[in-house]
């Protein structure tokens, strides 16, 4: 009977998935890729049947086949970021600037203990800057400018003693600017064009999320 043949045929299609044989880091990148739109084919070499992602273009690994860099700047990519990026435990450089990434910044990115540079600038990201970014102790560069980020600048970021370059300009942030940690070294251009950002925090006098 037709109904007996049809399900087993269709089940064969369901039960025979794309043979993903890559490691967990490759799986994480592949999961990200499946949600993205990539009109220039920049991610075409991201083949999940390979044993690891180290020969994928725009992915760089260390000598132990761990992903240390993802370089996708200026590539006309759109779609949401996802928590699986946090599985790239050795990641040092996350370069996703000048694209059309949308949705929020996953707070799981705060787990990337080796991160040196996070460049998400010039995208369509909304929501707030995750407080978990205060855990990124090795971070030197954080550029989130030119997005649609809201909420306040988390006080936790004052713990990032290695942070040299910080840019959140051209967003919709509110509240006040922290005055602890590396913040006094950042120029005012790092914060400009946030119409609801109220200038430096007046410690002890005004609650820090004033105006948010």
């Amino acid at each position: 009977m037709a109904s007996l043949l049809l399900p087993s045929l269709l089940l064969l299609l369901l039960a025979a998935p794309l043979a993903i044989s890559t490691n967990s880091e490759g799986e994480a990148l592949h999961a990200l890729r499946t949600r993205l739109s990539d009109p220039r084919g920049v991610l075409q070499s991201w083949d999940p049947t390979l044993v690891n992602p180290c020969t994928w273009f725009h992915v760089t690994c260390d000598n132990h086949n761990h992903v240390i860099r993802v370089d996708l700047g200026n590539s006309n990519i759109s779609g949401p970021l996802g928590p699986e990026l946090a599985q790239l435990k050795h990641l040092q450089y996350l370069e996703l600037y000048k694209n059309n990434f949308e949705g929020t910044i996953p707070e799981e990115l705060g787990d990337l203990k080796n991160l040196v540079s996070i460049d998400l600038y010039d995208n369509n990201l909304h929501g707030s800057i995750p407080k978990s970014f205060g855990k990124l102790k090795t971070l030197r560069f954080m550029r989130l400018n030119n997005n649609k980020l809201t909420g306040s600048i988390p006080r936790e970021l004052a713990k990032l003693s290695n942070l040299k370059v910080f840019d959140v300009s051209n967003n919709d942030l509110c509240g006040t600017i922290p005055v602890d940690g590396p913040f006094p070294t950042f120029s005012f251009q790092s914060f400009e064009n946030n119409s609801r950002l109220n200038g430096p925090e007046l410690q002890g006098l005004v609650a820090y999320d004033f105006g948010c």
Binding site: R140, K164, V165
Partner: protein
């Protein structure tokens, strides 16, 4: 007067709203087949007029809405086929009156809520297919009352909870498909009572606990898929009853312990996936008795010991996957007897010794991965003599001597990774015509000769990596005319002559590294046409002349390394227009003039090295704003 009992209007490209059919005029109908048309709209209450209906066949249309509760009036209904529509809502409680139902196919719809309890009363139900809906909730306890159920498929839903032990009553069940849901808990040992079970699939759930030993009783079982769960414990094959098991998938779980010796009892075993678990111990030599085996994949475990000689008995074997384990010892020559083998992956292990010459007999081989082992010596010259090779990975071993001649004849090659061995020979003799070749890495060898691919022989190359060899001669036009080239990575060779201006046509090129060669003359201005270029390294050559102004057109450039050449003139101030994030190294050249202050626009630059030139003047004040710098050398 004759009455209409059957209406068969399937597959006629009919359209329209189902409700417009005058059901009350068809009250004598036994069979109504409207399947595979373009009917839309809901199944309305008018359907209840078909009180004598035995077979309702509305599948593969565009029906929407919910199943009306009046469908409960169709008490003579035996077959209900509504699959492949857009029906939503839940199966109405009134369906409990449909005691004659034998077959229910409502798969590929948008049903919600849990599997209704009503099915519990349907003792005549043989076939129940609800797969690919949006069902939630747990499998009801009452499921055990469908004592005549032969086939149950609820895969591809969001069903949670554990498998009720009441399934023990479903002794007629042949086919049980629960995959792609969120079931948890262990598989109940009662599963061993389902003596007629032929096909059991529970992949991609959150099942925990051990594989129940009672499975060993299922003498009819042919297909057993448990992959992608959290199953733990060891594999225990009790007794010799699983004589019909053909397809066994336990991959992606947390199974521990060794592969049992009595795996040989599974005499009909054809495909066996155990990859991505925590299996230890050796591969039992009894594997050689599984003469029906076609696919054996045990990659990504902690398997030890050596590859048993008896593996060579598996003459029907097509895929043998042992990647990423702790296997040591030699590759047995008997592997050369696997005459049907197409895919052989032994990468990332500790295999040592020579590659047996018998491996040349593997004429059907299209995928050979020996990457990262301790193999050495010369390769058999006729390795994979069938020239069917698509994928060849031999990197990170100690192979020596020439690249086998059969590689040159393998016109289907797609991917070649030979990095880090000690191959020698003339590179132009080692390769031939490879129209499908995309990625090739021959780095860290002693290959000599010139790059001279014959015209049009390798037009699909995306990655050409020949770092650290002894290649000499010029950079041929054929290389810079490879239309799909993304990476040209040929540093540390003996290449000489000029950089061809035709290089500018490589519109996909993002990585260009020709450092540490003997390239001379100027950097052609056409380099400015490389619109995708992200990293450029021409260090340690004999290049002269100025930095071409056109370089400012490479707007994606992140890293520019030109150190140790004989470049002269001023440092191009327009370099400041490029938003470089990484390195600008112009050291050890003959640059004159002052340091252009425009370079301070490179706010994101991490390393700036202008040392060992003939620069004059002061360090521009604006350099204090280059806060990204971790290295600044202006000595």
């Amino acid at each position: 007067m004759a009455t209409i009992t059957k209406v068969q209007l399937g597959q006629l490209e009919l359209q329209g709203k189902l409700e417009t059919l005058n059901f009350s005029a068809l009250s004598s109908l036994r069979v109504l087949n409207l399947s595979d048309n373009n009917f839309h709209g809901p199944i309305s209450e008018a359907i209840s007029a078909l009180s004598k209906l035995n077979i309702l066949y509305f599948s593969t249309n565009s029906l929407t809405g919910i199943i009306h509760s009046k469908v409960g009036n169709l008490t003579r209904l035996m077959t209900l086929m509504l699959f492949e529509n857009q029906i939503s809502g839940s199966i109405p409680p009134s369906s409990e009156k449909l005691m004659n139902l034998n077959l229910v196919d409502i798969f590929m719809n948008f049903l919600v809520s849990s599997i209704p309890l009503v099915f519990g009363n349907m003792t005549k139900l043989n076939f129940l297919y609800l797969w690919r809906n949006n069902l939630t909730g747990s499998i009801p306890h009452e499921i055990g009352n469908m004592v005549n159920l032969k086939e149950l498929d609820i895969s591809g839903n969001n069903i949670i909870g554990s498998i009720p032990s009441n399934i023990v009553k479903l002794t007629e069940l042949k086919y049980l498909s629960l995959f792609v849901n969120q079931l948890y808990g262990s598989i109940p040992s009662e599963i061993g009572n389902l003596v007629n079970l032929k096909d059991f699939e529970i992949s991609t759930n959150q099942i925990t606990g051990p594989i129940p030993q009672s499975i060993g009783n299922l003498a009819m079982l042919e297909i057993y898929y448990l992959d992608n769960n959290n199953v733990n414990g060891a594999i225990l094959i009790k007794g010799g009853n699983l004589v019909n098991l053909r397809d066994f998938d336990l991959s992606d779980n947390q199974i521990t312990g060794p592969i049992p010796h009595n795996i040989a009892n599974l005499s009909k075993l054809k495909t066996f996936y155990l990859n991505n678990n925590n299996i230890n111990g050796p591969i039992p030599s009894e594997i050689g008795n599984l003469v029906n085996m076609r696919t054996f994949v045990i990659s990504s475990n902690q398997i030890t010991g050596s590859i048993p000689h008896d593996i060579g008995n598996l003459s029907k074997h097509e895929t043998f996957g042992l990647n990423q384990n702790n296997i040591n010892g030699f590759i047995p020559p008997s592997l050369g007897s696997l005459k049907s083998i197409t895919k052989l992956t032994l990468a990332y292990n500790h295999l040592s010794g020579l590659l047996p010459t018998e491996m040349a007999n593997l004429a059907s081989l299209n995928y050979l991965d020996l990457f990262s082992n301790n193999l050495f010596g010369n390769l058999p010259p006729d390795l994979a003599k069938g020239s069917m090779l698509l994928y060849l990975a031999l990197g990170y071993n100690n192979f020596q001597g020439p690249i086998p001649i059969s590689v040159k004849n393998s016109t289907k090659l797609v991917r070649v990774r030979l990095k880090r061995n000690q191959f020698t020979g003339d590179i132009s003799q080692s390769f031939g015509i490879h129209p499908h070749l995309g990625y090739i890495d021959l780095s860290f060898h002693r290959l000599y000769g010139t790059l001279s691919p014959s015209r049009g022989s390798c037009l699909n190359i995306t990655s050409l990596k020949i770092l650290y060899n002894r290649i000499s001669g010029k950079i041929p036009l054929e290389i810079v005319q490879l239309p799909k080239l993304h990476q040209l990575d040929i540093p540390s060779n003996n290449l000489a002559g000029k950089i061809p201006k035709e290089l500018g046509k490589l519109s996909y090129l993002y990585l260009l590294n020709m450092s540490n060669n003997h390239l001379s003359r100027i950097i052609p201005p056409e380099i400015g046409d490389l619109s995708s270029l992200e990293a450029l390294d021409l260090s340690s050559n004999n290049l002269s002349g100025k930095i071409p102004m056109q370089l400012q057109n490479c707007t994606k450039l992140n890293s520019l390394k030109l150190r140790s050449n004989e470049l002269s003139g001023d440092i191009l101030s327009q370099l400041g227009n490029l938003n470089m994030h990484e390195v600008l190294d112009l050291s050890d050249n003959l640059f004159t003039g002052e340091i252009p202050p425009q370079l301070s626009k490179l706010m994101d630059l991490q390393e700036l090295n202008l040392s060992h030139n003939e620069l004059v003047g002061h360090i521009p004040n604006s350099f204090q704003f280059m806060i990204g710098l971790t290295l600044l050398d202006l000595s």
